[in-house]
């Protein structure tokens, strides 16, 4: 059988692929797009060395951002630290560009925006919006400082529209893909769960068939004797036999696909043994039950065996989901306190005796 892929792990794999795609996009832009423009316009800058230094700072910010995002969704402090460094480097590069030509030779605006997309990719969308707005305002601020003309403003708006538009589109696209990956993984997971349920149902069906065969040897002869008049319903022993067979029939009817999980089936097995001794046993479950590890199950079934062995004629076993675990309880006419196995393996056992009825509860806690 193949190992189960938890939903989170599967959708996580898709998310990682999207992250790597974005890293390639951002690094590619910075190397080819921004780097190419920097080299082409090298003679236009007042200080090419300063622009080159800022380009390196931005490259370091992108590297740091890539490491952060590959390690998982970064917290707001590291994400914003990288974003602010990118913003500062791009503003400094813009401010050091020759007045009047700033937009034409600006390589940094795009790179800073992409760096923001990278580190804020998996954070709230509003954060990216704030960052891109701050980046645009900083660039506009530099332009206003240099003296803004109408043609400059038109250029600014054109660059804003295409560069920021592309950045928002990529961020939104990744977000949509994340959602789709989550859904695909959930669908695969539920398909797996359905297959597992079908297998459990088949196991239960086989067990039920076995019990039905057993009924042919126990309940059917009893009914035949009652019908023929050879068994007297007024006789105490016949009544006990009837009670036991009725309990067994009820369990057979109640045992449904809703209660997979080995603890329930181990308790059913203990009940079968007690029934052969003439004890009527009911088993009921409430809620979707957690899986209990084998050592804890052993403590619980040992308690069940001790109590069912001491029961005179009736016992009720219930399994209920409780916060962070399961409560397995026993109510039986034992007449006296029962020596129960020691608690352990995360199982706590309590008991109380009231008028010959024993109540005991084994509570397993997953924490």
């Amino acid at each position: 059988m193949t190992a189960v892929q938890p939903t989170a792990m599967m959708s996580g794999r898709y998310q990682r692929a999207f992250t790597i795609a974005v890293i390639f996009l951002v690094a590619g832009w910075h190397l080819a797009g921004a780097g190419g423009q920097l080299l082409r316009d090298r003679s236009a800058y007042g200080s090419f060395a300063f622009q080159g230094a800022m380009w390196l700072v931005m490259a370091l910010a992108i590297t740091a951002g890539s490491v952060l995002i590959l390690r998982g969704a970064p917290g707001w402090r590291p994400a914003w630290a990288v974003a602010v460094i990118a913003l500062a480097a791009s503003t400094a590069a813009a401010a050091a560009s020759p007045a009047g030509q700033m937009l034409a030779v600006n390589w940094a605006w795009g790179s800073a925006g992409w760096t923001g997309v990278l580190v804020l990719l998996r954070r709230r969308f509003a954060e990216l919006a704030w960052f891109l707005a701050a980046e645009a305002l900083a660039t506009l601020g530099v332009q206003v400082w240099d003296g803004l003309h109408r043609t400059d403003l038109a250029g600014f708006l054109a660059v804003l529209a295409w560069s920021t538009g592309a950045q928002v589109a990529v961020a939104a696209g990744v977000r949509a893909l994340d959602v789709a990956a989550g859904q695909a993984a959930a669908a695969a997971q539920s398909e797996h769960a359905a297959r597992e349920r079908a297998a459990t149902a088949e196991t239960i069906r086989a067990a039920r068939h076995a019990r039905w065969l057993a009924l042919q040897e126990s309940a059917v002869p009893l009914v035949a004797e009652l019908a023929a008049g050879t068994a007297d319903p007024g006789h105490a022993q016949v009544r006990v036999r009837c009670a036991v067979q009725a309990a067994r029939l009820r369990r057979l009817l109640a045992e449904g696909d809703e209660v997979p999980g080995s603890l329930v089936h181990e308790l059913y097995a203990s009940a079968d043994v007690a029934e052969r001794r003439g004890v009527a046993v009911e088993i009921e479950t409430a809620g979707p039950l957690p899986q209990v590890p084998a050592p804890a199950r052993r403590v619980i079934t040992d308690a069940a065996i001790a109590i069912l062995t001491a029961a005179h004629s009736q016992a009720r076993i219930t399994l209920a989901a409780v916060a962070a675990g399961i409560a397995v309880s026993f109510v039986a006419d034992t007449g006296a306190v029962v020596r129960l196995p020691a608690a352990g393996e995360g199982v706590a056992i309590e008991q109380q005796q009231d008028d010959g009825m024993l109540w005991a509860e084994a509570r397993w806690n997953s924490r």
Partner: protein, 237 residues
Amino acid sequence: MEQPVTVAIIEDHPVVAEGVASWIRSDPGQRVRLVQTAGDLTGLRAVSRPSADVVILDLELSGELVTAQIPGLVAAGYRVVAFSGHSDPAIVMETLDNGAHAYVSKEEGRDYLVKAVLAAAADRPYVTRSQARAMLADQRPARPALSEQERQALLLWFQGMSKASVGRRMSISENTVRQYISRARAKYAATGRTAPSKDALLARAIEDGVIKPGEIVPYKSFARVAADRPSLDAPGR
């Protein structure tokens, strides 16, 4: 002496109907009087006035689930006690949501059916173990918020303890145990679809001091319950 509560049995298996009738007859106080037995619901639909205070309704008639018929019965003025071999919590919840006063599984009938009928006639909750089980198992997002004490009382009752033993276990009186369980049930009456029977249960719970109007506010305004209350005294209820 009070008038006995009148009851109709809707059950398609004559042997089960006979058994229910014998439980009613063997009640020492003779507090319930059987007025009608039928294999389906047509007889109840035909009359304009409710012919009994309480209907004991088998949830499966001629192989079909009849939970969807409960709102109609409730609207006609009947109080419904569901009596069924289906102990699936989802069916129990649907039965209560549709306005049944109580749910009694066939295994519990001998011990609880007459008690549940009497409680229903007085618009008081009666929570059987199978009903407690369904409430504990409830995972629906719209389920009411139960307090820790209410959950614990429901859990111990479901586990099979007597209410006196539950009280000893929780170091409270048996009466307080009943209060907790009734309050949990009343919270359910305040959720889901509306039904006159649920309003009546709630109004009585408030009157009895089981629940305070403030405790049910998130799901239904007290104003609505109060507005429905005068109809309790109207004839036919």
